[in-house]
Symmetry: C2
Subunit: 273 residues, 2 copies
């Protein structure tokens, strides 16, 4: 039973990659939709929320935790590991590993939320692999995806503005762009048009699924070729179940089945009074 944690719906791109590669596991997905986005919040607040979510998933039987949120991984992976009794895997190390493997010229640009970029978690992970790194926060890309503006002139202009800034004065050797946010894979076709062709796009969601396959020693069932067992999955969210159901298919590729409201907060609020 694999617990997947995210601040909201973005982590569903990671779940989607996991389902494709490890289809016969059981999944619990926790989206902290009442308190999203994490990307603009402080490390202390994010760590605090993430540890609560990790406990929630563990209490419901998760035997392994995937932190499918770049911000939570960047800001709180150590705190989550310290608080969890099970193995914890984040998205930053797998993303950095995939980027390092892909970059022939050892020159990478990472884009992500404000909190992910300010944490410099990708910078550290890539520099440890002898890669030259540039980082660029793109705070508007998440709200643009959430608005469903995946391929509009506004989104293209915003993506152009951000990538021009990211590449300004950068080495001409940059040959990899890391999508350091789980929302960004939905903008991949648009980003592919906007970013120079010499630059390969690496997606942390895919990289994390691959890393988990290795960790579990699971055989790669690409496209269900081996008729594996049916995966089971259940979703917990802290805000509206209906809104999550409405948004999920865009990220997941199919309708979410069972979605339950996780009532972390009502307990919390009682003690506020």
């Amino acid at each position: 039973m694999i617990g997947v944690f995210d601040s909201g719906v973005g982590g569903l791109t990671v779940l989607r990659a996991l389902l494709r590669r490890i289809p016969d596991a059981d999944y619990l997905y926790f989206g902290d939709t009442a308190r999203l986005p994490y990307g603009s919040k402080s490390a202390a607040t994010v760590a605090h929320y993430a540890v609560g979510a990790a406990h929630y998933l563990q209490d419901r039987g998760a035997e392994l935790l995937v932190i499918a949120c770049n911000t939570a991984t960047a800001l709180a992976l150590n705190e989550i590991k310290a608080a969890a009794a099970v193995e914890v895997i984040g998205v930053v190390e797998p993303g950095a590993e995939a980027a390092a493997a892909a970059s022939r010229k050892r020159n990478v640009v990472v884009i992500g939320t404000e909190a992910t970029i300010n944490s410099h978690a990708y910078r550290r992970a890539l520099e440890a692999r002898k890669i030259i790194v540039r980082e660029k926060a793109c705070p508007l890309l998440v709200p643009l995806v959430e608005e469903g503006w995946l391929d509009t002139p506004v989104t293209e202009q915003a993506a152009r503005t951000y990538t021009i800034e990211a590449l300004r004065n950068a080495s001409a050797n940059v040959d990899v762009l890391v999508l350091g946010c789980t929302h960004y894979p939905l903008l991949r076709p648009l980003l592919r048009r906007v970013v120079p062709q010499r630059i390969q796009i690496v997606d942390s969601a895919e990289a994390t699924a691959c890393a988990l396959v290795q960790l579990l020693g699971v055989q790669l069932f690409d496209g269900y070729a081996f008729e594996p067992g049916e995966p089971s999955y259940k979703f917990f969210v802290t805000d509206s179940v209906e809104k999550f159901r409405r948004q999920a298919p865009l990220f997941l590729g199919f309708s979410a089945g069972e979605v339950e409201r996780a009532d972390l907060d009502s307990e919390g609020a009682t003690s506020v009074r």
Copy 2:
């Protein structure tokens, strides 16, 4: 002592209007920055957070509460009133009143967050005043303001897209646009360019300050002409104090003085485990 509550920094536009009109009061400002934005969240979650904040301000001596957040007003004013021991004023009624007074042709368009618009609080308040109403959610305008893109091509294009949709098939009699979100006054110059000249822009922040002046029977000190007493103000936020200090001047027009972290959540989280 006036307590001003908002989900984040947007309510500072209301505080700014209050300081200008009621400069000799004491103010406590509460920004629930750890859990913002409210605009995309459900009514139950917003009510729950808002009631907690109202208690917090009241416990610290607020004798009157201004809900300087359109979403919280639209979704939770009754719950807050029921939970508070002091008088509570929201931004929707004053905004609707100002719009009704300004609209000669009794035809108004309201823009706001997804949650504010879906609540139809402005629709009800305006229809009660015999005004024909169109509503339009503009989810990207808040993140655009928070990114500081107050006058960029991206913001102009987004504002154009939203206002064109809002006015499509609308009556040619529409003569007032209500800014039903406290972030939007910062986009006023841009919106003025984008919206047809026949349409007057009404700002709920200003309208609320005017309503409070009337409620308190305070003389209007416009521009401090009467050398009133110095206002005192103190800020409480649930996320990073530094980030609030950095963002505040854009909304407030000057630097925030004393900012303190309100630790609603750590109490809450203990009970989560």
